[in-house]
Amino acid sequence: MKKKNRAGILKRIFKLLFSFYPRLLPVMIVLILVNAIISAIPSVFQQNIIATIENARNTNLPWEEVKGTVYYFVGILIALYITSILANIAFHQLSAVITQGFLAKLRNLMFNHMQTLPIRYFDTNKHGDIMSHYTNDIDSMRQMVSQSFPQLLISLVTVTTILSIMMYYSIWMGLVIIFGATLSIFVTRKVGGLSARYFVRQQKTTGLTEGFIEELIHGQKVVKVFNHEEEAQIDFDKVNEQLCHDSKMANRYSNILMPILNNIGYLIYVAVAVAGGIFIQKGVPNFSISGLPFSIAVVVPFLGMSRQFAGSINQVSPQINSIVMGLAGAERIFELLDEEEETDEGYVELVNAKYVDGEIVESDIQTGFWAWKHPHKAEGTITYTPLQGDVRMFDVDFAYTPDKVVLHNISLYAKPGQKVAFVGATGAGKTTITNLINRFYDIADGKIRYDGININKIKKASLRKSLGIVLQETVLFTGTVMDNIRYGKLEATDEECIAAAKLAGADEFIRTLPNGYQTLLDGDGSNLSQGQCQLLAIARAAVANPPVMILDEATSSIDTRTEQIVQEGMDALMKGRTVFVIAHRLSTVKNADVIIVLDHGHIIERGTHEELLEQKGEYYQLYTGAFELE
């Protein structure tokens, strides 16, 4: 990380903190300042008491006469202490609120921003990397915000306060301490810097080791089948050794920093004592704000202050690691926050509508009848077209990266209620076409129209609401079965959800679950079979009831009986809708109104099952010999 960059990140963290807590943060800073100053002052009164006693001893004053002065100072001390404790309590309570609040708000900020990112972000970043923003990066910031920043501020104030008091007494002696402090800071930077560097490295190797462990342990059964245990152990030991080395170095430097600083503190102490002794003996003229001459009364408080001074500087050193790591974490978090959002320049909306005197009018209540609301800026008018599910593509080209075009000249149309089946080998572009219809990706060239409207003009949310989707790999969310079905339409009643489940053929198995529709599912649906997950996904799409469906048939093997049920569910879902299906099943293809055979991003054949068989082309090959199921 460059130095300038660091300053920039620091500034941004504070801006964020301030934007989250525009009132509390200043209060907090004031509290820290008050706290630091208050805790520096008592040493002055302690010195006063000591001086009083000393004076009393030298002049042999009886206790009764000194008592008043001593108790007076002690009284002030008690008052100061109480204020300080109260300020401290306030500060710590506030700190707990701000720290936890900051972390929560940052998490929410990240998550909310992440929801707005385009699919491309999720396709091009490893999920593990995205996740580590929420775990490692946030964790590394916690320490920095909750401890390092306040500690830094406290130390800074304490140091300044003590320095001012010292200057008040004697500038010469102050210089001695400043010299020592410089030395301490120098050592901290050197050793602490090394330590921080290794801690960052250790973090990296830890990640590598954990990745290795994750992979090997999850593949442990394969390891055993191949008698690969010894090799696995050797490979692991290598990674393990590296991790041990890096963390050893990191810990060494951080462990030795404190003893070094502590003892530098003692050396400063000796230096002050010796310098003070010499100054007094040689009668060196003092140079100070107070104008006091050199005397024991000046040197002794100095000794006390020098320890406090060293202590404050020492408190900073353990914070260096957490600051370096926190900044690194913050940098990665900001990278996520700076990712560009999915843009949406669409203005055509899907609205509830009804017919009034043969005209379509917008309706505030749910009518079950949807229409596209299309404002025309030039004329200042609004037109309504009913939602039908007519999708057409004209000469569409597409590339994930500009240099590699994956779809060429795709033209196709699907009238409302028609089924279009895509067939072709892995990488032929079947999935890519469906990604374009719901605008997960934007086309490079050509046109796609939905009910005659250019899909770029349609608001993405409206467009996607009008398209249902069942993916090959089923994704369910932690929650009840009912929640998962309702995901398709949040306002759906229980009855609607159950009806959808019945349509999908899921109702039967759901009723056999321990708590029926209220059964809690793990996120990965691990307590359901693959086929059952698919049935739920179908039910989820059914409850949304969109006019157009995109289906990606699963290839994975589920047992025949479940597969039949899934098939029936799919068929029921397809009825009466425009369907784009990435087909793997013969029956699906046979029932399609048009089959599109894709090869390397080109449409090479199209027609009905019978027509294509007659052509004796690629489809015939696929049908008779092999059905590439991937």
């Binding site: 302690q46 000591i50 006693i53 000393e54 001893r57 108790y71 100072f73 202490y81 404790i85 309590i89 710590h92 707990a96 609120v97 720290t99 998490r107 998550f111 929801q115 999920h127 080791t209 992979e215 090997l216 593949g219 442990q220 059964k221 089948v225 191949f226 008698n227 245990e229 010894e230 692991f236 393990n240 050893k248 060494r252 030795i256 404190m258 003893p259 502590n262 003692y266 050396l267 004592a273 010796v274 002794g277 010499i278 003996q281 320890r307 997960f440 996607r464 994704v475 369910l476 932690t478 949040l490 996120g523 990965d524 994975s556 093997s557 589920i558 047992d559 025949t560 092999a626 590439e628």
Partner: protein, 591 residues
């Protein structure tokens, strides 16, 4: 438990013992230094000469250097000892897991083993570091400082006996209040992170259903729940600092008022000014040692759970071992099951396999078909002894599988698992899992047999193509073919394919089977499949149902006689009932 974990110290024993010793010296010096400082202050006060000051200066410098030396040494060896301990602990757990049988792995689950190897080891290491360093330092510091305080202040030091219980009691109360909150918060925090993972994985679904805002609300709520818990916990914990400060201040006020009086009334005999300010230093040390002790206490309770979980792994005995005088050669690929029954756990009520009697000749091709949970995979897993039969005998090459050396047996019985994985590394590296010494030619041949060569040659780096973790950059069918090639490289006597071509197209599937028939005819081949087309041409097909063998026979025989097989066959091959008779006729004709 501690003894179990201590076994992982090994070569770091020296460092582990030296650390507390160095720490002890460090603490002693740290206790002496303020004492010397007190002397010095007194000397300066009474106006001692430069020589005296210099003298004390030298002593102090010497002590500081010594303390520096020991501090340096203790920090140094502590780092070596604790990170070394962590390394050995990870090594030991990993080694233990390598020795685990499938049953052991099932018992723990992979995810839990990963946690034990990562988070739990980290916690245990932290505790170890505390034990050898801080846990020595804090009580020693406490005792020494108290002794010194007593030497300095005499009876005044007894104030600590009043303050200490207050501090300890307060700290205990705080910990007791805060800990349950943390215990409650951490799992919730983990759950939150899991929900993020779920969201990232399911982003296509989220966006398709336009549920971004719904997800945001859900997350914000969960996130805020966690904030509330942790805020509460930290607010309680935040009283630690002020409590400590209060105790310190009480001591200060006491020492200053009573001490002043003592000095003056005894004319400095019971207490002088130097000692007086040093007493304040010690009071700080005593109280901060107490603080540290309470921290150690909290940390140790937190890491106790982790240590327990690690020990569970270390103490687990593998359920499957090689026998003492193992047989080192597998004669042929014949397999016999004699009245075999099997349960995954002795707690299970119903066995997964019941009364299996089965004899397979060397070189036969056997197909297995049956619904989910019918026991297909369980049956074949007994052959390479991935699990042991609960009752009955499994023989390979005429010998009980329990009499073979495990490595020999598993080298002769290659199994392509249903849930298979490729590891990050090149295709070549992955293939060589089958046979380390395989030549490039052999690799190519295996890939040709498995129908993998065609697509490998299409990759720009061909056999050196890097496979990402989890094999994410190859398709499902490609992964399966690579896994088959990897198994073929073992040149096994028995090859088991557990639903290994489900994502491969039927044409390639047929080609693979044809190649195996032609090139490795003497190898016994067992193919589990969902598709009847994958087993149609097998010598015999076994139909499994509810843990029992429902029927054995050729495809044609089974079509006539077995209801299950016929149902499956018909549903996959022809549509509609009108075709059923036709098929039956055809099947009858074949028989």
């Amino acid at each position: 438990m501690i003894r179990q974990l201590a076994k992982s110290i090994r070569e770091y024993k020296k460092d582990s013992i030296l650390t507390p010793i160095f720490v002890a010296f460090e603490v002693i010096l740290e206790a002496i230094i303020p004492f010397v400082i007190a002397q010095l202050v007194n000397q300066i006060r009474v106006g001692a000469g430069i020589e005296v000051i210099l003298n004390y200066g030298f002593i102090l410098i010497g002590l500081a250097l010594l303390s520096l030396l020991f501090g340096f040494l203790s920090g140094y060896v502590c780092a070596t000892a604790s990170t070394g301990f962590a390394k050995n602990l990870r090594h030991d757990i990993f080694e233990k897991v390598q020795g685990f049988s499938f049953a052991n792995i099932d018992k723990f689950s992979a995810a839990s083993l990963v946690t034990r190897l990562t988070t739990d080891v980290q916690n245990a290491t932290m505790a170890f570091m505390m034990l050898i360093r801080t846990a020595i330092r804090a009580p020693m510091n406490l005792v020494f400082s108290f002794v010194m305080a007593y030497i300095m202040g005499g009876k005044m030091a007894l104030i600590f006996l009043v303050v200490m219980p207050i501090l300890v009691g307060g700290l205990y109360l705080i910990a007791r209040k805060a800990m349950p909150l943390f215990r409650m918060g951490f799992p919730k925090y983990d759950a939150l992170n899991e929900s993020v993972e779920e969201n990232v994985k399911g982003m296509r679904v989220v966006k398709s259903f336009v549920r971004e805002e719904y997800e945001m609300e859900k997350f914000d709520k969960a996130s805020d729940d966690i904030r509330v818990i942790f805020e509460k916990a930290e607010k309680i914990l935040a009283f630690n600092g002020p409590l400590m400060q209060m105790c310190l201040n009480v001591v200060m006020v006491f020492v200053l008022s009573v001490g002043s009086r003592t000095i003056i009334t005894t004319q400095g005999q019971a207490l002088d000014i130097g000692q007086f300010s040093t007493l304040l230093t010690y009071s700080f040390q005593i109280l901060s040692s107490l603080m540290m002790l309470s921290m150690i206490f909290v940390m140790l309770t937190f890491s106790y759970e982790s240590a327990k979980r690690i020990c569970e792994v270390l103490r687990e005995e593998s359920t499957i071992h090689s026998p003492d005088n193992p047989i080192l050669e597998v004669k042929d690929g014949s397999i016999d099951f004699e009245d075999v029954s099997f349960k995954y756990s002795h707690l299970a009520e119903q066995p997964v396999l019941r009364g299996i009697d089965l004899h397979i000749q060397s070189g036969e091709t056997i197909g297995i078909i049956g619904g989910t949970g019918s026991g297909k995979s369980s049956l074949v897993q007994l052959i390479p002894r991935l699990y042991d039969a609960t009752n009955g005998k499994v023989r390979v090459g005429g010998v009980d599988v329990r009499d073979y050396d495990l490595e020999v047996l598993r080298d002769s019985v290659a199994m392509v698992l249903q849930k298979n994985v490729l590891f990050s590394g090149t295709i070549k590296e992955n293939l060589r899992w089958g046979n380390k010494e395989a030549s490039d030619e052999e690799l190519k041949e295996a890939c040709r047999l498995a129908g993998a060569e065609e697509f490998i040659l299409q990759f720009p780096d061909q056999y050196d193509t890097y496979i990402e973790q989890g094999g994410t950059n190859v398709s499902g069918g490609q992964k399966q073919r690579l896994c088959i090639a990897r198994a073929l490289l073992k040149k096994p006597k028995i090859l088991i394919l557990d639903d290994s071509t489900s994502a491969v197209d039927t044409k390639t599937d047929a080609l693979i089977r044809k190649a195996m028939r032609e090139y490795i005819p003497e190898t016994t081949k067992i193919i589990i499949a969902q598709r009847t087309s994958s087993v149609e041409d097998a010598d015999r097909i076994i139909v499994m149902h509810n843990g029992e063998i429902d029927a054995i026979g050729t495809s044609a025989e089974l079509l006539k006689t077995n209801k299950i097989y016929r149902e499956v066959y018909l549903s996959q091959n022809k549509q509609g009932n009108e075709l059923e008779e036709e098929t039956l006729e055809m099947a009858g004709g074949l028989a």
